[in-house]
């Protein structure tokens, strides 16, 4: 690990100012991803700004009837929260399907959105990786790509976003609230928050240098049967090969977001219109522009089967 200086943020605005004026500074919250990457010298900040002392630990109802989740709320506390379990069970289920008990106790809401890919070539500093070292090439294309993206890929990168939480939040139309260095605030729909890799896979979100996440807001509850179904290589404590976050209403309409298939949680509203027509019709639209490799083509069939499973499960539950 490279040496760094360390300070505790006094406020979100102060933290944003420090980070905006120093491109080698990083915020640290739970640290469960950043420290891992610092040990491997994939991340090499020279200054860490500890945001653990900031008062973003609340989960509170919004005036519109939704829920505001502070950026520092730990994954464990979010999944266990009474309102989340009752009104947004999709989110609780997604959180509980990710990581381990120890990690969820530290990992934060804001940090979860910002976690980096688990592409093995991103982690292997002996291999070219456009995300780690822009312009060096992509080792996953033509390499072992079983875990990689099939949608929204580019010639520069086929990495996936690893979060389960973000997939559920995408289906729930969550909005990310931030503060910039100049003190201004903005709300970013999760639809727009993560970027596709394109020619700049090292730029993963629309956040500006120094901009800090303060909360994630959920819309008022939408009811329905909420299911998070995740397929992985182990029964527990593994990243998704494919996951489906589904909200299915009694009339068969609903929302679908898919994880493990792209650089961001994948949702196509036109595909949701096909939901009452079944899994095949929905998957056909969802996967229209898929560009799988020979090794991860199985994810296409897996998406359709997972959709089939959640539609059946929803019918079963509502009957």
């Amino acid at each position: 690990m490279k040496a760094f200086t360390f300070e505790r943020a006094a406020s979100a605005e102060a933290a944003a100012q420090i980070a905006a004026s120093n491109p080698d500074a990083k915020f640290i919250a739970g640290g469960t991803n950043l420290l891992d990457l610092m040990k491997l010298e994939i991340e090499t900040p020279t200054h860490l700004i500890d945001v653990n002392g900031l008062e973003f630990n609340e989960i509170e109802p919004t005036a519109e009837g939704g829920l505001r989740i502070g950026a520092m709320v730990r994954n464990t506390d979010l999944a266990a929260h009474e309102i989340v379990r009752r009104d947004y069970p999709l989110l609780a289920r997604a959180l509980l399907s990710g990581a381990s008990g120890q990690l969820r106790n530290r990992a934060t809401t804001g940090g979860n959105l910002l976690q980096r890919t688990r592409c093995p070539y991103f982690y292997d500093t002996n291999q070219p990786c456009n995300k780690r070292q822009p312009g060096s090439g992509c080792s996953a294309i033509g390499g072992f790509s079983r875990q990689h993206a099939v949608l929204g890929v580019s010639d520069a990168c086929i990495a996936t976003h690893p979060s389960d939480m973000a997939v559920a939040m995408r289906a729930l139309d969550a909005v990310v609230e931030t503060v910039k260095a100049d003190g201004s605030r903005r709300a970013i729909s999760l639809t727009d928050f993560h970027r596709l890799p394109g020619d700049t896979p090292h730029i993963e979100t629309v956040l500006e240098q120094g901009e800090i996440i303060t909360a994630v807001c959920l819309q008022p509850p939408i009811g329905g049967t909420q299911i998070y179904r995740k397929v992985r290589d182990r029964a527990s404590y593994a990243f998704a090969l494919v996951s489906v976050a589904a909200v299915v209403q009694p009339d068969g309409t609903g929302r679908i977001a898919v994880g493990g298939v792209a650089h961001k949680p994948w949702r196509i509203e036109d595909a949701e219109a096909e939901l009452p027509n079944g899994a095949r019709a929905t998957a056909a639209v969802l996967l229209t522009d898929a560009r799988p490799t020979d090794q991860n083509r199985f994810k296409l069939a897996l998406v359709e089967r997972l959709l089939s499973a959640v539609i059946a499960q929803a019918k079963d539950k509502s009957s």
Binding site: M1, A3, F4, T5, F6, E7, I28, G31, T32, L35, D36, K39, H47, L48, D50, N52, T76, A79, A80, R85, R86, P89, A92, R93, L96, S97, A99, S100, G101, Q102, L103, N105, R106, R234, A235, S236, Y237
Partner: protein, 172 residues
């Protein structure tokens, strides 16, 4: 600004002050600065759980948190749970059920399981909890899921589950 810091911690009910390089993880602070070598370094990347300790009542991977991020925290390590002659019930249950072979993962398994039972008592659900409206019970399935962050290379899992189950039943 310095690349090292002074950190105050309460470790096993004793107040300690250390001066560490900012890079020092809580794990290395415990082992190298406080000579509490019961906490083990396995993968050092949060994947194996051997370094699990209890910080402010919650189990965490001590390898994935910096000592400086834990200023003022209360840390409990395996040494703080119990010592020979005065074992914590979980330690005694691991001995009784032979919940280990080489023993390297055991301090992490025990710290994790003690805090894990508190999580169930505090109504924290898990991936295998059937109904989010109801409080989970410490069934074997729940214990296995909740302990998935602790790897045992010797494969003593079935005896580990037996040990934890016995403690859970005594508690309830």
């Amino acid at each position: 600004m310095n690349e090292s810091s002074k950190v105050r911690l309460t470790v096993n009910r004793t107040s300690r002050e250390i001066h560490v390089d900012n890079r020092t993880t809580l794990l290395d602070a415990l082992r190298e600065h406080l000579q509490l070598t019961g906490t083990k370094k396995g993968c050092d990347h949060g994947q194996c759980g051997a370094c699990t300790v209890i910080v402010d009542g919650r189990r965490v991977n001590s390898c994935l948190t910096l000592a400086v991020m834990n200023e003022g925290a209360e840390v409990t390590t395996i040494e703080g749970l119990g010592e020979p002659g005065d074992l914590h019930p979980m330690q005694a249950a691991f001995v009784k059920h032979d919940g280990f072979q080489c023993g390297y993962c055991t301090p992490g398994q025990i710290c994790s399981s003690v805090a894990m039972l508190e999580e169930i008592a505090a109504d924290i659900p898990s991936h295998v909890t059937d109904d989010l409206k109801n409080k989970a019970r410490p069934t074997a399935e729940e214990i296995r899921e909740r302990m998935s962050g602790n790897i045992c290379r010797c494969g003593a899992y079935s005896n580990i589950v037996d040990a934890i189950t016995e403690v859970a039943e005594t508690r309830s």
